[in-house]
Symmetry: C2
Subunit: 187 residues, 2 copies
């Protein structure tokens, strides 16, 4: 069995959401699984000096248009939520505090709540409505989340979505084309 595709994302990332809707059938076509690895883009931005797409003059107008068009391109339901972006510490902790066999379903539910139904998943109570019984103040869960975010940054993850295939990094849903070819034969 080949190694799974590492899929890094932030729960407030529109392109991360689009990727979440597409990555599983994509990986399966190539005989791969997917390791879902939510992280906190804010922690990476502290290192890189980056900031959310909608906070750049000029770029923000384009970004909003491109998010909506990209959703149509990939045939995924999408509505840019307000507020945007939101903090995703609670969502991230809920993921890592959830049993492994329920994490992927939770990730998709969180993303759809935010980008389809406009639920503010920056608010802990909204996260808990989807995650059910998980103690977000549990120290072990907080430590686990912190360790996962640090590990992601240690791997060089600075954006969302970010994929690593057998050690090769690909940033952005617009690298699916290159990933497709790479999975057939590295070039």
């Amino acid at each position: 069995m080949k190694a799974p595709i590492d899929f890094y994302f932030d729960f407030s990332s529109p392109y991360g959401y689009l990727a979440a809707e597409k990555i599983e059938p994509f990986a399966a076509r190539h005989g791969r699984g997917v390791a879902w690895r939510p992280m906190l883009l804010g922690a990476a931005f502290k290192l890189t000096g980056g900031k959310p797409l909608t906070e750049w003059p000029l770029k923000s107008d384009y970004a909003k248009k491109d998010m909506v068009r990209s959703a149509r391109f990939y045939d995924v339901p999408f509505k840019l939520p307000a507020p945007f972006p939101v903090g995703t510490v609670s969502a991230c902790r809920a993921f890592y505090g959830t049993p492994k066999d329920k994490q992927v379903a939770l990730a998709k539910a969180l993303y759809r709540a935010y980008f389809v139904d406009g639920v503010n998943i920056g608010e802990t109570e909204n996260v808990l409505k989807l995650a059910g019984k998980v103690d977000l103040n549990d120290q072990a869960i907080k430590d686990r989340t912190k360790a996962e975010v640090e590990a992601a940054i240690g791997k060089g993850v600075f954006g969302s979505p970010y994929f690593i295939i057998d050690g090769e990094p690909f940033w952005g849903i617009d690298r699916f084309e290159q990933m497709e070819r790479w999975l057939g034969r590295p070039f």
Copy 2:
């Protein structure tokens, strides 16, 4: 005849170079011409707070890898030059000071000099070796260049390559996929 594809780029942009090698057959397949519009990314960065890809912590390592891999993906010869990036005011003025029927050949020659042969096109004398007789201190040429750069920014151009098709903006060589579909039928 349908309107040409507006193709904005900076002469120091690796992805702009890759696009320059690909845009003409791409446009021709869709019965379109190409309006080549070099601009100065530095002027846009002043507005957006952006900076060259290689100057972001974390992102820079990825960017260097991605440039080289993308060149292989698009089957275009490429070698990341040093120094990188370079100022492109002289290159941009040379383009706008050259007769229209020779501009595209000059643009390709400047790009290949920099990204294939490692010639520093930030230096005026190297630009003039390729551009031949053009007075880069001519006030009309300087004014024309300034006006073109301002017009680009006025259209919202903040990155390179940046395309506008019938009013619809596309940023990045990784938007060729969406442009391809858009040219068939806007979605």
